[in-house]
Amino acid sequence: MNRLATLLFLPLLLVVDAVGAAPDSRGGPFQEGIEFAASAAALEEAAGRTRFDFLALGDLWVRVKVQNPPRLAALTLTFSSPSGTPFYEATLLYTSDPALRNGRVNGVPATVLQGKHVPGGWVFDYPVPVSGTVFQRYPKPGSWVVQARIESTETSLSAPLEVSYGSP
């Protein structure tokens, strides 16, 4: 029952902090959260899409929106499958400093990705590879949960993701 409750309520954990909100690039108030799209260009066009056919998808572009990230932010993306099992995880370094190219994750050298400044905050974009990866190799249709955590901050975001394989 506890596991079931966790699964049911996880999607409700989406953190929406509108305090101090400012307009984002699409004109609405900036809200921290996670958005998904099928391409880099689509990230800029419309938010709110949460259903994806993983058989037809090359990459799932994930946009994490935060208001005040540290200069070098260690972002951990975790995809939990419909059973609640963590299935995919990536720890990525993002920076707001264009001159910063390298950093360290747990003391180990890692490349640094550039964050993008938008009115009201920052966005961190990452294409999670789908085609040819574990997401296609071990299909798990159903309701997923994507979490984004930024190390050494209290930022912890969550968003639901509906995944199908060749069907709506």
């Binding site: 059973s83 490349t111 040819g132």
Partner: protein, 779 residues
Amino acid sequence: MARWLGRAICLLALLLAVPASMGQSAFVCPTSFYSWAALRVNTATTGPASTPISDYPFNPVGRNYFAVGSKLFAYSNSSGSQAWNFTVTGTTIQNFPSPVPLTSGIEYIFLTTEDGRLWKIDAASPTTNIWVDTRRSLSGMFMPPNTFVPDPVCATDKQIATPAVQLYTYSNTPFKNAMDSVPGHVGDSLVFVVSRNTGCVNDTKRNEIRAYYASDLSLKWVFNFNTSNSSSPREVDGAAEGCAIWYGSDADPAQNTLYCGTKLVEDPADPQFSQAQQSLWALDTRTGALKWSYRAGSILNRPMPKAGPNGLRIYVVNFKGGIQAFSPVANPVNPLQGLPLWSTPLQVPMNVQAVPSPFVSGGKTHILVVDYGGNIRDYRDDGANGWIGPAQNPTGILSTAVCDATKLCYRGPPAIGSGLNPNKIWVGRSDGRVQQLTETLAREGVIAVMTSPTLNNDVAGVSVGVDNAVTSVSTDRLMAVTDSGWVSRVNLPMCTNSPSPGGATACGCGTSGVCGTGIAGDPFRCCNAAQDSCNAASANNPCRPWRCSIEPDCCVFLFSPCATDAECGGRPGSCDIVQGFCTAPCPPSVNSQCGAASHACAPISAGTFQVPDGTVCDDGKACTAASPVPTLVNCVPAIGGGNCTRDRASTDLVDDVGDCPLSAPVCSGSGSALGGQGGAIVGGLCSPQGTACNLATGKAFGNFGSGTNNNDVCRAGTCTSETYAACTCVNPGDRCCAAGLACCGGSTGCIDLSTSSLNCGACGLACPVGTSCSGGRCL
């Protein structure tokens, strides 16, 4: 020569082995079948495990390597102990590692990580390693090892495919000469990677195939680097599984070829969509020069070079289920084009999920695929055509829907036994078990990889290695890993000895823990008495699992991580400190309910739980239907209307299983009525072209020409009143020719492929000028 070639082929087979992962609850085969079993890996990482890869052919110590998330694990083949694990911090390993011995004799492991790095890791000491950043540079720089590209074209360029390695030791003279002619690289080997670039804004999606020297990861060559040459643009898309190498002898025209399969842009809105993009690439391993390419659909698998009865062929499978065979060398008419020999487009009813390496049996090359319905399907190279073989689902009924958590299905690429007599096939299942199949895909025994009921249960891949202690094939071992980190190593072949039979009409669960008829082909003859009860009738499903509708309290803790007994309910010893999880969590008062609590409770699905043999379940109806619950299939209403849960012959009027009323119809799509061939109906149509069929029902008869004489013939997917035995050759592949001839199409007709210089060994495969066709080969 033969010896080293054999070793090279063996090693090549290893390097081509395909991906994997994870597990469940109960031992189905007796525990004596385990070499060592059910070891829990404390992965402390996230994700399904890759296929375990054995290094036995060249490492007498024998290890298996597999990746989970950001970690690489090394396990001893003989003891099952973990030799080491290594973390690639901050990134993910998306495919299996490639362990190889370099010329020095030292074993290294090559792998790629999602952040675009290629790694070379010392197998003896993984902290001794180097890596190179393979991402594209705006300024065209190629960085030395352990240095990131400072100006990436697209910072999220990736590597997700397993590297291919051409080893100097096993290569031919031209390759060795090419290596030895480069100062500093005498005796060196090459490592090949293909990128998976992700389309940053304004990026043109160019991917590259690169070769690095194995010694120091310095760059050897790049294919598709200078795409500014507009006269010959090569739009290489990303790769899913990477490349394969054909070493070849000094005289082999296909020698030193790297075959890579890539995707195609399939989004009509993408500007690359309308371009003549290719997806199968043949490059010279020494130079990266293009030998030929072909547009073969979005290729799912690593191209598979396989020498079979018809010589060397390259097999590829695309995501939509099309299987194609190519000549290893270019089309003689168009030297930069590949030469397709046959294809079976759209023959797989569902998208393909996994493809293992092909194998040769019965004079034919077999290509197995696992589709998204969790079915395993066998396709065969018949020389001029690809033929549909049998198909199998662990439920016994082919699935037409995507396998989800509610269904029992096969997962990941199967492994094929070699050297066993007869050979066997093993494939992971979604319930944590590994299924053994015959070469005709008849189900035999199953065995559990893990004992945890609470973790994800998929076994998404298996591999076969040879135990280091004895070199006989009888000591083959199966290595299986679950996506939650359980590892088992299983003796092979498993469950091939008939268990104690309980008789043809009665079911006896003896002390061996096995019930069933013991008849070969009985899919459940390895049932475990500790997990199952027996049906009165043994014909089909002799074993049924015990179930309870309410989870016993003790099960809440079983296999949960723990450091103290208190975390497992408090009974002394309930926490296995060494393993780090609760093994016997029940307090004595609950033990009476749970029986042998150490392996007591395993959820089958929401609300139902297995309990030990003899437990009285709380609902008083301990046994429910066989597990898994059979899936309804549509049937031809030959006897009655509606659905039934299984197939049976039209003469089988006895409801001997109890799952199908006497009024239920006959499922004529796949069963004894069709000679047991199964799978003849694809998408509701008879197939392939030319197959004998029954006009009255529109159904095909078998797949291999075994249909009844005087039947009609399948044309364009429907049954037509043209006599099968005398039908006309219209399209290549039609089964309408006399024995010994193949249909090469209406204008060409029936051809003897063994002697036709225009169709030598395959339709359209012409012999070069100055040669003639003999025995299907140009000589």
